[in-house]
C-alpha cells in the first residue's frame, strides 16, 4: 500500500470554546509510524486536540504541520486523517467487506475498484478470511481491524482513536490492547490514541503526552513519566493504582533532620536545600509491602507503619489493600496475590524510603527518596 506517513507538528495551538480556553498554547511533535497516546482526565482537552489534528476543527491560533507542510487550513479528507470514535462503531447489518467498502461507495467508485481496494487493505490487516462475516460474528480484535481498515481504505495516513475501549468489557479490552499494539507494529501506520485510562499508558508505553486543563503537562515514555513525574497530577495519573500522598514537615531533632509525617517520623541522612518545610510525600501502592511478603533489602531505609484494613479489593491476580492510617484517605497497597482480609484487621506494612517521591506544597516534583538516600 502506498503510504505517506508524516510526522505531526503542533505549533502554539490555542482554541476557545464557549468562552473558555480549552487548548492552551499546545506545542507537540508526534513522530511517524508510531502509536502515540494522549492521556488525561475527562475534559482535559484530548478530544479537542484530536479534532484539530484531524481537521474537524480549526485552531484559533497556531499552526499544524505534517512534515513541513502547513495543513492548518485543510479539511480531514485533504489531510488524510481519520478519526474513529468510541467502540469502533461498525454497521451491524453490513458484512465486514461492506463496512470497509462503505466510504468508497460514497465516492461512487467502480465496483471492481472498490473490490480491489477492500481486498488490498483486508490483506494488509490480515482479515481477508473474515470479510463475509457480520460484526456480531467477529471477535473484538477483528472488529477493531475492520474499523481501522475502513479508515485506511479511504487513504487515511493518520488514525485517531478517541477512547476506543471505554465502552467495552474490561476483559475484552485486555486482548484489544494487545491486538492494537501488534497491529500498529505490523503495519506501521500512524495511530494517535486519546484516552483517559492510565492502563493505556502501561500498555502503549513508548510515546505519551499527559494533558490536563487544556495543557500538555509532560511528554515522554512511561518510565520517564513514572519515575520522574513533573508534578503531582502526573504522579497521580500515571500508575496502575493511584499513588498515595502524605503531608509531611521537615523538623530538627537531636541535630538530625527528620521528616515528620502523619504516619510516623522518618529519619533522612541529608535533606536537600530545595526541600521546603512543608512538603508532600508520595509512595506508590506497588512499593508498599504487607506482612508475610519478603521485606526487600536495604533494611536501613525501611519504614514500617500500621493500618487497619478498610477493604481488600481483589482485582484478579492481585489485591489492593486499603489501610486506614488516620489520614483523610486510606493508604493503598498493591499485594501481588489474592489476599483476602476482613475489614478491621490491623496489618503492618513497610516501604523503602528510596521509593518515596517528594513534592513541594504547590505540587511540583522535587526528587525521589533514592536521590537523597544514595
Amino acid at each position: 500500500m502506498k503510504q505517506f506517513l508524516p510526522t505531526i507538528k503542533l505549533v502554539d495551538i490555542c482554541k476557545k470554546s464557549n468562552g473558555s480556553l480549552i487548548l492552551k498554547n499546545i506545542n507537540l511533535e508526534i513522530p511517524n509510524k508510531a502509536l502515540y497516546v494522549v492521556l488525561g482526565p475527562p475534559r482535559s482537552g484530548k478530544s479537542a486536540l484530536g479534532r484539530i489534528i484531524a481537521g474537524l476543527d480549526t485552531p484559533d491560533t497556531g499552526r499544524i504541520l505534517f512534515d513541513d507542510q502547513d495543513v492548518t487550513n485543510l479539511g480531514p479528507v485533504e489531510r488524510n486523517v481519520s478519526m474513529v470514535f468510541q467502540d469502533f462503531a461498525l454497521y451491524p447489518h453490513l458484512t465486514a467487506f461492506d463496512n470497509i467498502a462503505s466510504p468508497l461507495r460514497k465516492l461512487k467508485l467502480l465496483k471492481e475498484e472498490i473490490r480491489k481496494r477492500v481486498l488490498e487493505v483486508a490483506e494488509y490487516l490480515k482479515i481477508s478470511h473474515r470479510l463475509t462475516h457480520y460484526p456480531s460474528e467477529l471477535s473484538g480484535g477483528e472488529k477493531q481491524r475492520v474499523a481501522i481498515a475502513r479508515a485506511l481504505v479511504k487513504g487515511a495516513q493518520i488514525i485517531i482513536l478517541d477512547e476506543p475501549f471505554i465502552r467495552l468489557d474490561l476483559k475484552i479490552r485486555e486482548d484489544m490492547r494487545a491486538e492494537l499494539y501488534r497491529l500498529q507494529k505490523d503495519v506501521g501506520v500512524n495511530i494517535i490514541l486519546l484516552s483517559s485510562d492510565p492502563i493505556d499508558a502501561m500498555v502503549f508505553s513508548e510515546n505519551i503526552a499527559f494533558m490536563q486543563n487544556g495543557e500538555i503537562v509532560q511528554v515522554g515514555n512511561l518510565t520517564e513519566l513514572y519515575d520522574d513525574p513533573k508534578n503531582i497530577s502526573v504522579a497521580r495519573y500515571i500508575g496502575v493504582i493511584e499513588m498515595n500522598f502524605i503531608p509531611a514537615k521537615i523538623t530538627q531533632e537531636n541535630n538530625r533532620k527528620v521528616l515528620d509525617t502523619e504516619i510516623g517520623k522518618m529519619a533522612l541522612p541529608t535533606i536537600p536545600q530545595l526541600l521546603e518545610d512543608e512538603i508532600l510525600i508520595g509512595i506508590r501502592p506497588e512499593h508498599i509491602h504487607i506482612g508475610e511478603e519478603d521485606v526487600p533489602s536495604h533494611a536501613g531505609n525501611i519504614f514500617t507503619f500500621e493500618g487497619r484494613v478498610k477493604i481488600a479489593e481483589v482485582i484478579g491476580s492481585e489485591t489492593i489493600v486499603h489501610l486506614d492510617v488516620g489520614l483523610a484517605e486510606p493508604i493503598r497497597v498493591l499485594v501481588p496475590t489474592i489476599y483476602k482480609k476482613n475489614p478491621g484487621e490491623v496489618l503492618k506494612a513497610t516501604f523503602n524510603m528510596r521509593d518515596l517521591y517528594f513534592f513541594d506544597v504547590s505540587g511540583r516534583f522535587i526528587c525521589r527518596g533514592g536521590d537523597i538516600l544514595g
Partner: protein
Amino acid sequence: MDDSYVEVVTSLVSIFLDKITKIFKKGKTSIIAVKDVTLEIPEKTFVGLLGPSGCGKTTTLRIIAGLEKPSSGRVYFGDVDVTDWDASKRNVAMVFQFPALYPTLSVYDNIAIPLRASKVSEQDIRRQVLEVSEFLGIKDYLNEKASKLDINLRQKVAIAKVMVRDPSVFILDEPLTVVEPKARLELRAKLKEIQLKLGKSMIYVSHDQSEVMTLSDKIAVMNNGEVLQYDTPENLYNKPRNTFVGWFIGNPGMNFIDCELTEESGRVYLTTAEGFKYDVSFLPNIYDIASSYRKVIFGIRPEHIALSSRGVRVKCLHIERFGSMMILHVEAYGRKIRAKVPQTSQVKVGDEIYIDFNKEKIMLFDPETGKAII
C-alpha cells in the same frame, strides 16, 4: 398480604435455582439466554454472577427477582416455590446501574417511600431514615431534591432506599459501573458492610472481576447462558474448571497453548508441530492422561512463568508495566503468551530470552470440552 409472604420475609432465606432455562423468542429465532442453571445461594452469603456482556447473568438475576419467568425450571426461596410469584411479593431489594429515584422528591422522602407504603409510624420512619443516611454518609443531603444530586450520591440514596425495606435478599445489577472510581470503592466497602450487618444474602452482577472477587463469598462464572463454575474467588483463580474461567479470572488471564502429549523414551512431553517441547513427566498421573488424550490444551497463568537461564526460548514482542511487575508478551514457537515478571528483570523488546513454568501451576485441559484434566 397472605400468610406465606409473611413467613418468607421473616425466616429468610436461601435461594435455590433448579434447572432454570430461559428462551427469548425474537421473530422466528429463539435465543437461549439461560441454559439449565442450577445454583444454591445459602442464606447470609454474598454471591457474584460474573461474565461478559450477554452471558445470561442479568437474566438470571431478573428471574430470581421475579421480573422474568423462566421457560423451565423452578425458583425456591427457602422451601417455598416462588416461581409463579410476582416481583413485589418476593420482597427483593434491587439496585440497578442507574439509580431509580423520584427526581422531584427530597432525598428524605425517597428513602421514606417504602416505609410509608408499609405503614410505619412517622417517628419510626424518621429514626430509620436518619440511621441509614448516617451510615451511607448522605445525612447532609436529606432535604435536597434527588435530581440535584450527582450520580454517586444518587446511587447511595438508591441503596439507602432498599436498605430500610428489610428485604429478603439484595439484588444488585452492576450498581457501581457508572459511579466514579473513588465513590465506587467507598460504596463497595459499604455494600459488604451492609451485607454483614444485616445478615442478608446479596447477589451481585458484574462483568468486572475485581468487583465480585472483592465482595463475594462465592462466584458463579457464566458464559453463553451457562454457569461454568460456582466457587470461591480463590478456587476460581487457582483451580479453574475450564479454559473460559482460566481466561476470565486473572489479570491478564491464563495463557493457553494447543499441544500434543508425546511419549518419548519413557518420558512425556508437551509438544507442538512448530517445535515446542516441554517435559511434563513430573505431573501426577501423566502417563495415564497421555494414554487417553493425544491432544491437550496447556494452561499457565502469566504470573506462573519466570525468566530462567534455560527452558523455553522465546522472543519478547511487547512489554507492559503493571505495578512492580511487567507483563511480557512473548512469542514461543509461533504462539503468543504473556508472562508477568518483576519490573527489575532485565528484558527489552526484541530480546531472545528463556522462560520456565512453575511446575505446580501447570494445567491441562481437554481441547474437545475445554474442561480441566489436571
